[in-house]
């Protein structure tokens, strides 16, 4: 257990947290503005990863793969919103959950038909396949790239929401959609745009995660559950909460998986620790969520209305 390992794991946690943030931001915006529960958000992540892997394998250009993943998921997201999901805005959450559950099954199987059930391999771009030295610590440069892109997108999203006209409309829509519509704004268009934007960020997350995790059917499902934990911890509808929540969950999960078994060995017998360690580590973020809820049901950083 060296100092070096701790820093590396903390950076890995940060990198996982950044991927979670890209997903959580879109989900929480759609939830906060349209009051719509989109469980199929993980499917856009999966589609982004698959599109990126396919384009990267053909063109050998990571930029082209990135553009295809982001634009592709943007278009798919907007199409799904227009054709299937828009009708559900006025419905209860139960119907929304049901409809998006159906969409998940559809997309998972569609991917299985198009690309097969076995994982698709995607390598990092050549320029970022090495190791970067940073203040004496060695770290894979691709993971560093993921952190940088994620933080940049986060900053861009902050500027978009707080310092542009469209961001103002989004915020206005969140507080009173009907009033915004009466004032002559095409709120339906804003909704589609926002939904597409969320899908595109999920697609970007899929692209960035592709070379790190395996690209396979259903890859969006497990990450979606982690994203849900992020949103609940951060506070529903709050982008700021999604950001801090994602970083907390990313670091707690990653560092906990490495260190918890070691810590348990100090206090319990080896056989018990070896059995309970991994089990407890995988439950850690959920237990953390339960504690947060018990103390602050509205989340750590609730949306300011």
């Amino acid at each position: 257990m060296t100092w070096n390992l701790l820093v590396t794991q903390a950076l890995n946690g940060l990198q996982y947290g950044v991927v979670l943030f890209l997903l959580a931001a879109g989900l929480t915006l759609v939830l906060g503005v349209m009051n719509f529960v989109n469980l199929a958000h993980g499917s856009f992540y999966m589609l982004g990863a698959y599109i990126a892997a396919a384009v990267f394998a053909r063109t050998n250009s990571f930029l082209a793969a990135g553009a295809a993943a982001v634009l592709g998921t943007l278009v798919i997201g907007a199409l799904v919103e227009r054709t299937a999901l828009r009708t559900f805005y006025a419905r209860g959450h139960l119907d929304q959950v049901l409809a998006t559950f159906g969409l998940i099954l559809f997309f998972n199987e569609l991917v299985r038909i198009l690309w097969g059930a076995s994982p698709v391999y995607m390598r990092p771009p050549d320029a970022f396949s090495g190791i970067v030295e940073l203040l004496g610590f060695a770290y894979p440069s691709y993971r560093g790239l993921v952190i940088a892109v994620g933080l940049l997108v986060g900053a861009g999203l902050y500027l978009l929401i707080h310092h542009t006209r469209i961001g103002m409309l989004i915020r206005a829509g969140a507080s009173n959609a009907q009033m915004v519509s009466v004032l002559g704004v095409n709120i339906r268009f804003v909704n589609t745009l926002l939904f597409g934007l969320g899908a595109a960020m999920a697609g970007l997350a899929g692209l960035m995660a592709g070379p790190i995790f395996s690209v396979q059917p259903g890859m969006g499902d497990n990450v979606l559950i982690a994203v849900i934990v992020v949103i609940v911890i951060g506070g529903i509808g709050s982008v700021r909460g999604a950001f801090y929540g994602a970083l907390i969950v990313g670091v707690v999960d990653t560092v906990g998986r490495i260190y918890l078994p070691f810590v348990l060995r100090q206090v319990a017998e080896r056989t018990v620790a070896d059995a309970a360690g991994p089990a407890l580590a995988s439950m850690l973020i959920y237990l953390f969520m339960a504690v947060v809820l018990a103390l602050r049901p509205q989340g750590l950083f609730p949306a300011r209305r």
């Binding site: 049901l98 559950i225 609940v232 991994p278 995988s282 959920y286 049901p297």
Partner: protein, 328 residues
């Protein structure tokens, strides 16, 4: 709206349909053993097991308005109670049931207390997250098979009273449990408790203002529902001779919700009807193509879009005395 069950005429269409449906279920093993198609017995056992889980979910989802997206958790608790006890040589069925119900009650009480601190979307997400937490717990239990699950060499032992070692025995055991549960949930819904629960569904704030300890009733309903679902898990493990983390996977919770909506939310018999239609639909589609989920997915979207009363609910709507919550 008739509040008391006595006001339902025994000749009303819903009573006739419900009685016919239950009689049909009771006759399945007789018919299928006579014509030598034992496959039907396993198919309908599956329907009964998932129907029982759907009925339990409906108690909180339909009558309490609490959208639990994590009921597969209790299926898993029930299944692992049988699996782990059998693994250590305890085969007595009553002990299996007792442990399953006890553990389900404990887990549903603790998670229920946390979940009830929120409502709406957050409730959906938290129940989902808790179920997934136990899924990962099951995966990490390496000594009990981990990811691969745990096979159960012999079904639960209920001797000398009865035996579920053969498929017909298991079928009638499941049928009896479902029938008793349906009767009890009918009584439950018409009791003061059930009326209170319906009240919290339609106006939580008013119920609170009237001075009812709302949280207590909601948690109690959640615990009852979890215990029944735990029993369904015991049946599931005996049916498949297997306990697997896959039983707790979140898609199973989704399937249960689809069954409830498809059959008719907040009706007694609806979830069972929904389970029957859903399981048969799955079986037919998967026989037709390997990629049946690509058809099932859009079908579920359509179900969400058009069926707000469900199949059995439609029958109730046609009923002259029609009211959605007083079905037998």
């Amino acid at each position: 709206m008739p509040i008391f069950p006595e006001t339902v005429s025994p000749r009303s269409p819903r009573v006739v349909a419900a009685a016919a449906f239950m009689l049909l279920l009771a006759a399945v093993p007789l018919v299928s053993n006579t014509i030598g198609e034992s496959y039907h017995v396993t198919l309908v056992t599956r329907i009964l097991v998932f129907g029982l889980a759907a009925v339990s979910l409906n108690l909180v989802l339909g009558y309490g308005g609490l959208v639990s997206f994590g009921h597969a958790l209790y299926l898993g608790i029930g299944a692992y109670s049988v699996g782990i006890l059998s693994f250590h040589g305890v085969t007595n069925g009553w002990i299996h049931l007792g442990v399953a119900v006890g553990l389900s009650a404990l887990v549903s009480f603790l998670t229920g207390l946390v979940c009830m601190r929120t409502s709406g979307v957050a409730f959906i997400m938290i129940t989902l997250a808790f179920a997934q937490m136990f899924y990962f717990l099951g995966v990490s239990l390496k000594q009990y098979g981990g990811d691969d699950g745990l096979s159960i060499p012999r079904r639960s032992d209920f001797s000398p009273l009865f035996s579920i070692q053969d498929n017909t025995g298991l079928y009638y055991f499941a049928f009896a449990v479902v029938a008793v549960t349906l009767y009890l949930s009918w009584r439950f819904v018409h009791a003061r408790f059930g009326r209170l629960l319906l009240g919290t569904k339609s106006n939580l704030r008013r119920m609170r203002a009237l001075g009812f300890p709302v949280l207590r009733y909601q948690v109690a309903a959640y615990v009852i529902s979890g215990c029944i679902c735990g029993v369904a898990g015991v049946l599931l493990a005996n049916f498949t001779n297997f306990a697997s983390p896959a039983y707790m996977y979140w898609t199973v919770s989704g399937d249960l919700i689809v069954m409830v909506i498809l059959g008719g939310i907040a009706t007694i018999l609806g979830p069972l009807v929904g389970a029957a239609v859903y399981v048969i639909l799955e079986t037919v589609l998967s026989a037709y193509t390997q990629h049946w989920m690509v058809i099932l997915g859009p079908v579920i979207v359509l179900i969400a879009l058009i069926s707000n009363r469900g199949l059995y609910g439609l029958l109730l709507a046609r009923d002259a005395q029609g009211s959605e919550s007083d079905a037998p």
